[in-house]
């Protein structure tokens, strides 16, 4: 048994492990292979408590990671299905939408390994068939027949794709804000969160360029969702995105704008994205998940 091997294994999952334990590398060197096997759990426990903020992750942190994993499976399966539906995605857009699918696949792999490393059990979707992360029997993206054309109408597909990604951004923000200061998962969650935001902005931009009636910007204006039925069912996905009280109740609509003006109400709401808590997010997604 060799500490280096254990660290190397973790490094395959988390390349930052050496940086996380950086102050302790010399400690490891000095121990070398002389650490008694019986003392290893203690040494490693202390090492990772420092590196990851806990010995084995707390149940709530594991739950946060599994919640993130649940969202990643959901969006991955959505984009994977779309990208593999012939004639759905325009040729100009396929590279971008495949990048989204691939990033989400990376997130699944990363989170699965991290959760396992931290002593947890990774979430798996219902009806999961283990054919790299495809769970065709796990989701109903038509929402019980409400969106029967989700994989035949490119416009509807992009509408749902935007709503799901904007929601993922809100979900990660909820995770980041609720796990306390100093947990190293904050850094990782931020890195994933930034990629989810790039995805959401990209899908909005694709819709803007395709002449979508709401002419979305890459950022979320006010709490604007889709207006016509049945797409107006996504209005709750954007609840409170028009919040104007930030930080210590600072009214951001009073902030100075360009050229001596005051910032517009819309621009102020665009400048701050809003979180959503786990219960709300899971409630919004549940009609799309088979049980």
């Amino acid at each position: 048994m060799n500490i280096s091997n254990i660290i190397n294994e973790i490094a395959k999952t988390d390349p930052e492990v050496y940086e996380r334990v950086s102050g302790r590398r010399n400690l490891l060197k000095s121990f070398g292979s002389k650490v008694a096997v019986s003392a290893l759990p203690l040494v490693l426990g202390s090492l990772f408590k420092k590196a990851y903020g806990q010995t084995t992750a707390s149940a709530s942190l594991i739950a946060s990671m599994n919640y993130a994993l649940q969202i990643e499976y959901f969006t991955y399966n959505f984009y994977h299905t779309g990208n593999n539906t012939g004639g759905l995605v325009s040729a100009a857009d396929i590279a971008g939408l495949q990048a989204i699918e691939n990033h989400d696949l990376g997130h699944i792999n990363f989170l699965k390994n991290l959760i396992t490393t931290m002593g947890g059990t990774p979430y798996t979707p219902k009806n999961y068939i283990g054919n790299p992360f495809i769970a065709a029997g796990a989701y109903d993206f038509t929402k019980s027949g409400t969106f029967t054309n989700v994989f035949t109408s490119y416009a509807i597909y992009l509408d749902l794709g935007q709503a799901f990604k904007d929601l993922a951004v809100r979900a990660y923000k909820g995770i980041i804000g609720s796990n306390g200061a100093g947990s190293s998962f904050i850094g990782t969650a931020m890195q994933i969160h930034s990629v989810e935001a790039r995805h959401a902005a990209h899908v909005r931009y694709v819709r803007r360029n395709s002449g979508a009636i709401d002419n979305p910007k890459p950022w979320v204006s006010e709490n604007i969702s889709f207006q016509s039925a049945p797409l107006n069912q996504f209005i709750p996905f954007y609840i409170n995105e028009n919040n104007i009280l930030q930080g210590t109740n600072i009214d951001i609509t009073t902030l100075p704008g360009a050229n001596g003006s005051t910032i517009s109400h819309t621009a102020a709401t665009e400048a701050f994205d809003e979180p959503l808590d786990m219960t709300t997010v899971q409630g919004l997604l549940s009609p799309f998940i088979l049980i």
């Binding site: 990376g106 200061a181 930034s194 995805h199 990209h202 360009a258 621009a267």
Partner: protein
């Protein structure tokens, strides 16, 4: 912290700096623009007159304040002297970029209250604002830098109360980065140079990020208290 492609990013900055042959043209363009003068004021601070960013959470917030001032100043210039061939859509969104970042600047100053550092002096010459490619290329560098800065700074806050607030700004920076990237090169919003095989976005320590920002800033900082 990860330092993905720092060398590449720095060389990119050097490349755009070589546009300095057109500095005269830039100055001509910028010269008549009221309101941006403050950013162009020569900075006479000597090395031992560096601005100390502060300790702990104050230092982290002042670091973000520097990054946001840089972007707000950059977009103020980009909006004042727009590039040739600007579309209506681009004009709208370019103004949004400026307005969002201005809001972030003033918001961070209010959060910092008495601990806020003085306004900084920028060096806006790396970009040629009338040239679409030059302006957007520089915007990409600054937006990717901002995203990596927010990603890297968050785990160092000791007051958890900042986490929700700062994460609200962070994702808007990522949306900005997508836009300027796709604007220059469609579908490049998640370029492989920025996002690793695990799908994790680039992360920079505050000190590393400040070093990348420095070519755009005349003010010198004492950031020794920031995470390296």
């Amino acid at each position: 912290m990860k330092l993905y492609n720092t060398t590449q990013d720095l060389s990119a900055i050097k490349d755009v700096k070589s546009y300095d042959v057109s500095r005269r043209r830039f100055l001509q363009l910028a010269g008549g623009i009221a309101g941006t003068g403050a950013f162009l004021t020569a900075c006479k601070k000597s090395a031992d007159n560096r601005i100390f960013v502060g300790r702990g959470d104050v230092g982290l917030l002042n670091f973000l304040y520097i990054i946001e001032q840089l972007k707000a100043g950059f977009y103020a210039q980009a909006n004042a002297t727009t590039y040739y061939g600007l579309t209506l859509s681009e004009m709208q969104l370019l103004a949004d970029l400026r307005d969002h970042d201005l809001a972030h600047v003033d918001f961070l100053a209010l959060i910092l209250a008495g601990n806020v550092i003085p306004k900084i002096t920028l060096n806006l010459s790396p970009a040629i604002y009338a040239d679409r490619t030059s302006m957007i290329s520089n915007a990409i560098i600054l937006e990717d830098l901002a995203v990596a800065s927010y990603n890297g700074v968050m785990q160092s806050f000791s007051d958890a109360g900042y986490l929700p607030t700062i994460s609200k700004i962070a994702s808007v920076e990522a949306r900005h980065a997508q836009y300027v990237r796709d604007l220059l090169n469609y579908n490049s919003f998640g370029d492989i140079s920025l996002i690793d095989a695990n799908g994790l976005g680039q992360s920079l320590s505050p000190q590393a990020a400040l070093a990348i920002a420095q070519p755009y800033i005349q003010t010198q900082f004492d950031g020794s208290t920031l995470p390296a």
